[in-house]
């Protein structure tokens, strides 16, 4: 029995498994030598949600690596989750291109700093950046925090540093952000829901 590669692909795509290939009369090992194994077959599947609009389509992430401590999981494919009651496996152009968002060349990879008057970014460490931001915030809070207003009323607010929260971030991110900002007396806080 002779198959061209194209015909073979047609048959296997039609759902005929390896056992029936043997039944067709040729050795699976020879066939495997011809066709590359599907990458998705050895990928980890993870259920996730599309981050764009609020339909919240279910997606399945396919990544290489078993997420062990010493392995880096890398995303190789994203598709719609057929179990999800709302999108039932479908995705729009944006959802279908999610892999290119995750792997965009314009993802930020390390902390950066732009000094006053400078025309460039400088790479810095997390510790350096966070120490300086914490210092700036504390200094400003100590200076600008209003314990009482002009009428002598207790107001305990910090009106001079503002925060914008992300409406595409998780509830968990939102709740810790809100808790921290209010504890510092922040009032100038909003999120994308306002606009």
């Amino acid at each position: 029995m002779a198959f061209t590669r194209r015909q073979f692909l047609k048959i296997t795509a039609g759902g005929i498994g390896a056992t029936s290939l043997t039944a067709l009369g040729f050795s699976p090992s020879r066939v495997l030598a011809e066709v590359r194994e599907f990458k998705l077959a050895r990928a980890s599947e993870t259920r996730n949600t599309c981050p764009y609009c609020s339909v919240g389509c279910g997606v399945i992430l396919y990544s290489l690596g078993d997420r062990a401590k010493n392995a880096r999981a890398e995303l190789i494919h994203v598709e719609g989750d057929p179990d999800h009651p709302v999108n039932r496996g479908t995705l729009c152009p944006k959802g279908a291109a999610l892999l290119d968002f995750v792997r965009s060349p314009n993802r930020l990879r390390f902390p950066e700093y732009r000094a006053p008057g400078s025309d460039k970014w400088e790479r810095v460490t997390w510790d350096w950046a966070l120490d300086r931001i914490a210092r700036s915030m504390k200094d400003d809070r100590d200076r600008s925090f209003l314990r009482r207003n002009g009428a002598g009323q207790t107001v305990n607010r910090w009106p001079t540093v503002g925060f914008l929260a992300a409406s595409a971030s998780s509830n968990e991110t939102g709740s810790i952000t809100g808790k921290v900002i209010r504890a510092m007396g922040g009032v100038a806080i909003d999120n994308q829901a306002r606009v």
Binding site: T46, R47, N48, T49, P51, S54, V55, G56, L75, P85, V86, N87, P93, K94, G95, D100, F101, V102, S104, N106, L108, F110, P111, E112, P116, D119, A129, I133, S136, K138, R141, T154, N156, R157, P159, T160, V161, G162, L164, A165, S167, S170, N171, T173, G174, S175, I176, G178, K179, V180, R182, A183, M184, G186, A188, I189, D190, N191, Q192, A193
Partner: protein, 810 residues
């Protein structure tokens, strides 16, 4: 949404106005197609453009941007005139019969109580007349001249079909066809669903646009019904969740609210929000406010929140004014802000009047941007020629850019527009040194806390006292944070109905907000999310695909707030006796002893129908409000006001053009354009291939929609000598953009007040960074004005001029 995505399939009429789901919510729109295909539903689309949603509509009307209330007010008049309302529902479940106090009035575009210098209303006269028993008075015959029904009739009497045509540009015949389709759902067994998005919110009358539709749905008996409701399609994936969590200047989690300066006393603060019933026997669910508030304070401040200190009342900031994003950027432009932190938000592109934003950002001492991607905001100090003309040497702002993970690289939950919390799992590691958002916040907070512990400083108490019991203090897990917002028992909770039973032991996760207490024995970060991570585990991670009722409720998929209820106000899906209005779409029913059904009943389980407990349990009067009482800043009835930039005077009351209570700062008046200089109505919008300003960093999408364009109707293009593909300059009083012209049949000139008005369509996805061709930030054009109630900017209706770009303009 009052309902949810899959529920759209149950509708007989789908009304899309203020949104374009076929392009902006494509996978949700499939349920509209489902309704058309399998429920023979009629699709109505009303929009300034003939969109892809309109392309599959049964009825389409093109209206002038910013005239939605004129259209909807006309619908109300039409329904009342033809008596096309569900009378039994209106009588039992709305405030139609309630008598309004004598002080309420409306004349020449203004409601009673207007204070012109302050641009606000004294709303104290917009209330019901109360009887000697303290309850609101009613007239079930609906004849009293001051009953809501009569006032409603009188208010909308001016909105004749001819007036609607004159204001909106929709021909009388089209308007009437649409009214007839809407009116068909006044029958108890027919429903209409309303789908809207930013096309309604982004106006200076945004909140009233939506209220107007809510009133129509009440008149038709469509609230609480499967296939009914008023459904916000919403924008970002967790915009619902962030709103529920109170990340807004005046809010606390679960729609609790921050105190104002004058509210110095905890008891007075809480009493004002603990709403007592306004009619006999009503639930007035906000009576539980203290339980939710005290549990929140116990979640944040633990043992430091005691009855004696008003549950750490003074540890919360108080407000002297609103600090919404427009106010904050206004203060920034006046040099009154020192620092700003943007977490996954690109305000330079997303907030109106780019020039003013640059001015503000340049006056900051420091700016911190936390984002997975490059944003224009983080690069605001870079000179990009005509796209962003600044001199970096003159900008003294220190800028930090911190890389965060994205959705695929974290665990956590999102709330979709149908209020369903769905968990997602991490599938990949973030690139380079990027970290997850909670870790970034925790690293920053623990540093600030350490500084206060070491050095002291101004009012360190709430910082040092904040509950922070995470296993790794610098890296709280998503599960720990979710358990916090669900809430737990701090002591053994006895069952008030049966002293031999315990609802929850100390330390256990709570199953429902019904278990929350105001005595400090429960902690809960957001009462609305209570039940999402119960003692039974993470309910948001449930993936049961069963739909036993066939109504698309999927009760075992994720967790819907509140209490896993899929359709809000579902008590209104039954008649007063407790029988479903429509036997084919039964959400809940009274079985003789209690409320049961396919959905979680939105009613006290043992409230006998004859007790007359009304379905709108969050309202003290128990019924839906056709008359909004004092709850809205700009009037109890929605009224048509022109956009702040309008091509015509307000035909209803020429002296009161735009919303008299809407937000405008004095200096921004000089930046408003006139119709003489900027003759064309303009609106901004999304494309299906892009999402705000992130997707231009996505290669595939940059290939699909590579270059900035604007849409111009054929007639205007001909007048201006513009051909498809020409570069055009679009100007407003505030700025300009240059883009390709798409000349289209989809936007037609409208006849408004006897003259021709053209509309220019402006997709907004471009900026000076990204993989697309560089473009202009469209919000260079939009005005710095906001809605009267929620201060959302007016992106959807303003004035521009358009010219063919001179040769040589990039």
């Amino acid at each position: 949404m009052t309902n949810h995505w899959v529920d759209i399939k149950n509708a007989n009429v789908v009304m899309v106005m203020g949104g374009n789901p076929a392009e902006a919510h494509p996978c949700g729109f499939k349920w509209v197609v489902e309704a058309k295909a399998h429920n023979r539903a009629k699709l109505i689309v009303v929009d300034p453009r003939f969109t892809r949603t309109a392309a599959v509509a049964d009825l389409f009307a093109q209206l002038r941007p910013g005239t939605d209330i004129a259209f909807l007010g006309g619908v109300i008049r039409w329904l009342l005139e033809k008596d096309a309302i569900q009378r039994e529902y209106v009588l039992a479940y709305t405030n139609a019969a309630f008598i309004v106090g004598e002080k309420f009035a409306f004349q020449d575009g203004l409601f009673s109580g207007y204070d012109e210098p302050k641009r606000t209303y004294d709303r104290s006269g917009w209330t019901y007349e109360l009887g000697a028993d303290g309850f609101a008075m009613t007239d079930p015959t609906l004849q009293h001249p001051r009953c809501v029904f009569q006032l409603l009739k009188k208010h909308y009497d001016r909105y004749t079909p001819a007036m609607v045509a004159d204001v909106t540009g929709v021909p009388v015949e089209t308007f009437q066809q649409i009214c007839e389709a809407i009116a068909s759902t006044a029958a108890p067994d027919r429903t209409m669903t309303s789908l809207y998005a930013l096309g309604w919110t982004q106006h200076t009358v945004g909140a009233q646009n939506i209220r107007c539709m809510a009133m129509i749905q009440l008149l038709l008996g469509n609230m609480g019904m499967a296939g009914g409701g008023v459904n916000a399609l919403r924008g970002h994936s967790n915009i619902q969740g962030l709103t529920d969590l109170g990340l807004l200047s005046d809010a606390l989690p679960g729609y609790l609210s921050l105190a104002r300066d004058v509210e110095q006393d905890y008891q007075a603060y809480v009493d004002k929000r603990t709403l007592k019933p306004l009619r006999p026997g009503q639930m007035s669910y906000w009576q539980n406010y203290p339980k939710f508030h005290v549990s929140l304070m116990k979640s944040w401040y633990g043992a430091a929140a005691t009855r004696e200190n008003g549950w750490a009342y003074d540890w919360l900031p108080k407000l002297d004014r609103l600090y919404d994003v427009l106010t904050v950027f206004h203060l920034m432009s006046e040099g009154k802000l020192n620092g700003y932190v943007c977490q996954g938000f690109n305000p330079l592109a997303s907030v109106p009047h780019k020039e003013k934003l640059i001015e503000g950002l340049s006056k900051l001492k420091f700016l911190v941007v936390i984002d997975p991607l490059v944003t224009e905001t983080s690069d605001f100090w870079q000179d990009h020629g005509d796209l962003n003309r600044v001199d970096p040497a003159k900008i003294q702002t220190e800028v930090y850019r911190l890389p965060s993970s994205c959705f695929a690289e974290e665990d956590g939950s999102l709330v979709n527009s149908g209020r369903t919390l769905v968990w997602h799992w991490k599938g990949a590691d973030p690139p380079g040194e990027a970290k997850e958002d909670p870790e970034i916040i925790a690293l920053l907070f623990t540093r600030i806390r350490a500084l206060y512990a070491k050095e002291g400083g101004t009012f360190p108490d709430p910082i040092l006292g904040l509950v922070w019991d995470y296993k790794i203090p610098t890296k709280p897990s998503a599960e720990e944070l979710a358990r916090d917002f669900n809430g737990k028992a701090l002591a053994d909770l006895g069952d008030p109905k049966d002293p031999t039973k315990t609802i929850a032991k100390a330390g256990e996760q709570l199953a429902t907000f019904g278990a929350l207490r105001d005595d400090g024995t429960t902690a809960c970060g957001n009462w609305l999310f209570c039940g999402s991570f119960s003692q039974a585990g993470n309910q948001m991670a449930r993936r049961d695909t069963a739909d036993p009722s066939g109504l698309g409720l999927f009760p075992g998929w994720g967790f819907a707030w509140p209490a896993n209820r899929r359709v809000l106000y579902n008590r209104a899906s039954c008649d007063p006796a407790g029988r479903p209005w429509d036997a084919k779409r039964k959400l809940i029913w009274w079985n003789g002893a209690k409320w049961i059904g396919n959905d979680v009943p939105d009613m006290r389980p043992d409230a006998k129908p004859e007790e007359g407990v009304s379905p709108f349990i969050m309202n003290p009067e128990g019924v839906g409000r056709l008359f909004g009482t004092d709850k809205m800043a700009d009037g109890p009835f929605p009224e048509h006001y022109e956009p702040f930039e309008s091509p015509v005077a307000n035909p209803l009351h020429p002296k009161v053009g735009p919303n008299p209570a809407a937000r405008i700062f004095e200096r921004d008046r000089r930046d408003l354009g006139t119709a003489e200089e900027f003759p064309y109505a303009a609106t901004t919008y999304r494309l299906t291939e892009h999402f705000h300003f992130w997707s231009k960093h996505v290669r595939l999408l940059a290939v699909l929609q590579p270059e900035q364009f604007v849409e111009i109707g054929e007639a205007l293009a001909q007048q201006k000598g513009i051909r498809a593909g020409d570069r055009v300059v679009v100007r407003s009083r505030r700025g300009r953009i240059v883009a390709r012209a798409v000349v289209t049949k989809r936007i037609k000139p409208l006849k408004i007040g006897g003259r021709e008005v053209h509309t220019v369509g402006i997709p907004f996805h471009w900026g000076f960074s990204g993989l697309t061709r560089p473009g202009y930030i469209a919000n260079a054009l939009t005005p710095f004005v906001g809605d009267a109630n929620v201060q959302t900017p007016e992106f959807k209706a303003f004035l521009v001029n358009v010219e063919k770009a001179p040769a040589g303009v990039a």
